[in-house]
Structure formats: structure tokens, C-alpha cells
């Protein structure tokens, strides 16, 4: 089936909304945070742990799975769910962002993008049709249109050219899309330019996708610009379809995205910072390597996750300092749970019409920066 968005409540003071996402693997409340399982594994975690954290949809990367193990192997395994033993909904991105972020040299043509593999330097060519074909074979629940992610800042002429090309790519991908069990989302681009975001949004919506995402944020722009990029686009997106802000995972940005009407977020942040010993807390990120945690026998935060219920900062610090992967696992569980709980709290705030108070209170406590590790 195609995913269906059911709007249950609009906030009275903001654009935030509480709803349900109906999927092949059950119904999940929105706004939601989607942890990233790049290579068909949410780094260090089992599928059971991901579910216990309260995750609904997880995200896997088309580009990475294309290279390893290859979409045909995943397809022969019976699709991504069977391959990785995850019986929850999976979203695959289009590969566009990885081409943007991982490829050192790339050549963008009307037909597609020529670039080198980040693993072995091999020449690769990704097109809208190829991206969709791979995703059809991966058999995720939600596939994304192939787009170009424009850097920030980008000059207007280039941004316009790219935005128009991404629209043509969206159409080409949609035309070859062939999987009744899978949904296809369109992606709004347009860089930092209001008229291009507007154009991209209305033209993408005209193609009638199953959901819409806002791409090209989290590419180095300041927060004011990021929020503007959302504002420019989101008002043109239909109310009866899910709205997904790609690559956003800083707590403050999730809150601001929800206030603007976003339903879905994904980010590698919780697992990536875990690998470097960082943990989210209500008071900002902390680095567990800090010497002050050597004899701190309290949990990371007042939190309901497996990690905080059973382990102290002193133990996790010991694991991280000793490069024991169980430490990354404990921090990943906590960090994903932190963002998942954040979206649970935001849903409650929408229901209670107090999301602005929630935001102000959150920001008052949360410092938002990495703690000095010395």
C-alpha cells in the first residue's frame, strides 16, 4: 500500500500538526524522528533495540546499498525488510545527497550525475531512473525522488537551473516508478531563494506524490536561513500528505520544524555523535570522555532508555575511552531515544496547544553546543 497521512489536530497558534502515518508495517504518530540505518543497519543496534526505542520509520541509503551489497542481492533476499530483519517501515533516500556530500568530483548533466565511488574511486553514473529502479528493488516503503542538493550559498542563476532540472528529474523518476507496495515522495529544492522554493513546491505538488520533503537544508546555512527555507516551501504543500524535512536532527531544529508544520525528520546525528562519545541531555550535549565523568555513577540524563536505566556515565566513559563498541551502542540507544522522546513530547504539546511554551522552556535549558572535552 501507499502510505497515508491522517491529520488529527492542527495547533491553534502555530502550523504544527499531530497526525498518523499509515504504512505497510502499521500506523505511527507524527511528528516523528527517523533514525538512519545507512547500510541496512542502524549502526551498532539490533532491529529489536530500534523498535524498543520507539522508532517507527527508519531510513536507509540508496547510494550506499547500491554499492554494497548491491540492490540485486537485497532484492533476492526478499527486499530490505527481510534482508535486515526489520519489520517496521523503511524509507530510502534517492542517493542525491550522498552524491553531493561524498563525491569529490562530479559532473552533473541533464541525464544524471557522473561521479566517483567514495569506496574505490570507480566511475559511477546515477540517473533519476536508476535511483528509482534501485529503490524499487530495495522494496522500501517510501522511496525518494532523485534530486540535486544545492550547496549553500549558491548563486541565483545556478540555483534556478538546478531547481528546474530537479523538477524534470522528479518527473522522469515518477514515470518509471514501478512498485505498488511502495510510496514515492517528491523533494522541494530551491536553495535559499523564496521564489525558487515556491516554484519548486507548486510544480512538485502538481506531479502528485505520496508525500513531500524539503531538501537542501542542513548544508551549512545558518539557522535563520534554514527556517526560512522551510517557511518558503511548506505553505504550498498539501495538508493531506506527509511533510518530511530531510537530514535535520538537532533538537532545536526539530522543534522549529514541527512548529512550521513538518511531520518527519531524519538525521545521522544521534548515532554519529555517539561514536565520538557525545550524548544528548536536556541541558545540551555532553562529551562522556570528559574527565569529570570518571567517577560519575549517575545516568546520562533523567531518561527512560535502556542505557539510562542500567548504566552510569563512569561505565560508558570507560567503554568509550577504551574504544569498546558497546559504549557506542549505549550512547546510540540513548541519543535516538532522546530525539524520539522529543517528538513524543512535541506531539503532546500539540495536543495540549502549548508547543511554543514547550519550545521556550526547552531552549532555556538546552545549551545546544558540544561540551568541551577537556
Amino acid at each position: 500500500m501507499k502510505v497515508k497521512y491522517e491529520l488529527l489536530k492542527n495547533d491553534t497558534k502555530t502550523s504544527s500538526r499531530y497526525g498518523l502515518l499509515h504504512t505497510n508495517y502499521g500506523t505511527f504518530e507524527t511528528p516523528m524522528f527517523m533514525p538512519v540505518g545507512t547500510l541496512a543497519t542502524v549502526k551498532t543496534l539490533s532491529p529489536e533495540e530500534v523498535k524498543e526505542i520507539g522508532s517507527g520509520v527508519i531510513l536507509s541509503n540508496t547510494y550506499h546499498l547500491w554499492l554494497r551489497p548491491g540492490e540485486d542481492i537485497v532484492n533476492k533476499a526478499g527486499g530490505l525488510h527481510k534482508f535486515m530483519n526489520y519489520d517496521g517501515p523503511i524509507l530510502t533516500d534517492s542517493g542525491g545527497f550522498q552524491v553531493f556530500s561524498l563525491a569529490k568530483k562530479k559532473d552533473i548533466t541533464e541525464e544524471g550525475v557522473h561521479f566517483k565511488s567514495h569506496i574505490d574511486g570507480k566511475s559511477l553514473f546515477l540517473t533519476p531512473e536508476k535511483s528509482i529502479e534501485i529503490q524499487n528493488k530495495l522494496d522500501s516503503d517510501i522511496a525518494m525522488s532523485f534530486d540535486e542538493c544545492i550547496p549553500y550559498p549558491a548563486d541565483y542563476e545556478y540555483a534556478k537551473e538546478s531547481t528546474l532540472r530537479t523538477l524534470r528529474w522528479a518527473k522522469r523518476g515518477k514515470d518509471v516508478f514501478n512498485n505498488d507496495n511502495q510510496s514515492l515522495f517528491g523533494i522541494v529544492q530551491g536553495g535559499e531563494y523564496e521564489d525558487l522554493r515556491h516554484l519548486s513546491a507548486i510544480e512538485t505538488v502538481k506531479m502528485d506524490f505520496d508525500g513531500y520533503s524539503i531538501g537542501g537544508t542542513s548544508v551549512g546555512e545558518d539557522k535563520v536561513t534554514m527556517y526560512k527555507m522551510i517557511d518558503y516551501a511548506i505553505k504550498y504543500l498539501p495538508k493531506d500528505k506527509p511533510r518530511y524535512l530531510m537530514g535535520v536532527g538537532e533538537p532545536i531544529d526539530i522543534i522549529e520544524g514541527v512548529i512550521r508544520g513538518v511531520d518527519m525528520f531524519d538525521c545521522v546525528l544521534p548515532t554519529r555523535i555517539a561514536r565520538h562519545g557525545n550524548a544528548f541531555t536536556r541541558y545540551g550535549k555532553i562529551n562522556i570522555r570528559n574527565a569529570k565523568y570518571k567517577e560519575d555513577f549517575t545516568p546520562i540524563d533523567n531518561c527512560d532508555c535502556y542505557t539510562c536505566k542500567h548504566y552510569t556515565k563512569a561505565y560508558i566513559r570507560h567503554l568509550i575511552v577504551s574504544n569498546e563498541s558497546f559504549g557506542q551502542r549505549l550512547l546510540s540507544i540513548h541519543n535516538i531515544r532522546f530525539l524520539t522522546k522529543l517528538t513524543e513530547d512535541l506531539r503532546e504539546a500539540i495536543k495540549n496547544d502549548n508547543i511554543l511554551e514547550y519550545r521556550d522552556n526547552f531552549i532555556k535549558n538546552y545549551r545546544g553546543e558540544h561540551e568541551n572535552t577537556k
Copy 2:
């Protein structure tokens, strides 16, 4: 309490025996395999996973915990169990083996061993008293006497000198031992020499430890010599105390050890080979990186572990090739379960008086070598 060994059945044709080990954390059947959690973590696994595998006792390393995080921090945490959240029995080794295997330069004196830290090259000095003091603070359930692990081969004069010194060290350690909640095991050394093993066994037993281990095997000797080392010593060990063969984890060696009357085994092998992509099977070890598993959608083995119940070789291969730590985790679960199940089968065989048939049948199937990875 001190651990207590309860002998339930002697095999009629071999020296193998089925019994129970009563500990602070419950009663466990023997023969048993003890997985290694060097730095207060069985690499990549949670305590719950270790228990689900059927592990009873786990082993942690005194030398490693002395260096990181330090025994005082573990002690302040409430001991090793609380520190690492493991409510099963824990055995700590004495550090002697790590001094032997990790230190590049060492100076063995009557007082103790001077050597350099494998982490930062710092000068360290470990004595029998210090080893016991650290273990008392770690508060494991079973502590080991500080010994010198002699290399193989060793000339007779040196072996004799070392064996006598290890006996004096055992006495010194026992004299300062001070933890009513902890047991202390003596270690039989003597290299490859029958008279020295004999001497070491009877003198160690005279000191009346809570259990006895056979050390200095698995140091490069051939299997015939290893089994002789066991034979030379084990007949002098009392029937009412547990017998522990240190550092042994090859399936065939566990079987031969059990046949000779050993109750306890430990080895890093199942987790170490997992990190290199190797898995135990009934037909020998396989390397999951092998290209022939690319599209092998069957489990590693006909096995009751979490890994084999849920994941295919193709998926685990993908994880290992992509350096995803969940792959090591899945292989570690399987490999520890393999050795744990082996000891379960051996216990059944003892009860059924058919351990020799079990051994012959096992060896017939098991190739015992690493599979070529190409």
C-alpha cells in the same frame, strides 16, 4: 560466599564429570564455557545477550581493568557486577598471562614483574599481593593467583625455577587475600614437564584453594603436548573442587579437556574470530567474507542462537565487509553460543555415558581450520 563444586556424575569410561558450581549469583552446570569480557564488557554484547546465550560465569581481565578504568573506580561503583550491570558470576584472572603475552620487555624478580604498559609504555610493577589487592577491589566472584606463564618450549632449569617461584607467589597472594565474598583459585604451572606439573599440583593443592586451574597451556604447544600438560596435573587435583583450564577455546580442545576432567574453560576465541568475520559451525570455522556467501540466504548453522534464528550469511557478510559492528555482534553471539552449546552437549554426553562417541562424531564433521577467505 565461596564457590562450591558439587559432583553429580563421573563418566564411567573417561575422567569427565558432570557437576554444579554454586556461586553468589546462582548455580551453574559444569563443564562450562566462560566468555571473556576483558574490559568489563564482552566485546559488542550486552549483559542480557550474554545471559540469553546461556553463559554462566564470565571472565574479566585484572591487568586491563587495573590500567582502565582502575580498580578504585570499579570499587567505588560497587564492584565489577554493578559497574558493568552483570548479575551473573564473574571470574578475574591474575594479570600474569597479560604480562606474559602483552609486555614486550619484562623483568621477573622474586618480588614481582616489572614491565611496560601496552597502552602508553609506562613502567608498571605487578606483584602477587598487588594482583590480589586489585581483584579484591574489583570484587569478582572468583580471583586467580598471580603466576608466571612460562613460554613453550622452556628449558627445564628455567621451568623449575619459575614453577617454584609461582608456588611462593601463590602463598603470598593467599596470605593477603581479603574478601569473604570472593573465592581464590590456585594455578598449576610446570610447563611441559611431568615432574614439575606434579610438583606444582600437589604443592598448590596443599595451600587449599577454592578451586584449581591449569595454566600455561595455549602458549604455542602442539595439541598432544597440551593434553599431556592436563594429564600430568589433573590427577592430583581434588575431586571436590572445580578445575579450570585457562585460555582454552578451540572446540576440540574443550572436548579433550572435558574428557580429562576439566570443569571450566575460557577463551577470547569466539569474540576475537568474530571480529575477523569467522564463525564456528559443526563443519569447522567459516569466514563469512568468502564471496560464496554473497547470495547465501541461509543461517550460519543449524543453531538456536539469536543470530541464526534471524539473519542470513548474506546479510552478515554484508555487515562484516562494510565494517558494521552489528556484524561482529551477530557473529560473537553465534560463536559464544556455539561453545556454550558444545558444553551443554558434553554434559548430556557425560550423563548418557557416551562422551567418546560424541567426540569421535564431532571430530568427523569438524575440520577445525579457518576456511580460506578467497
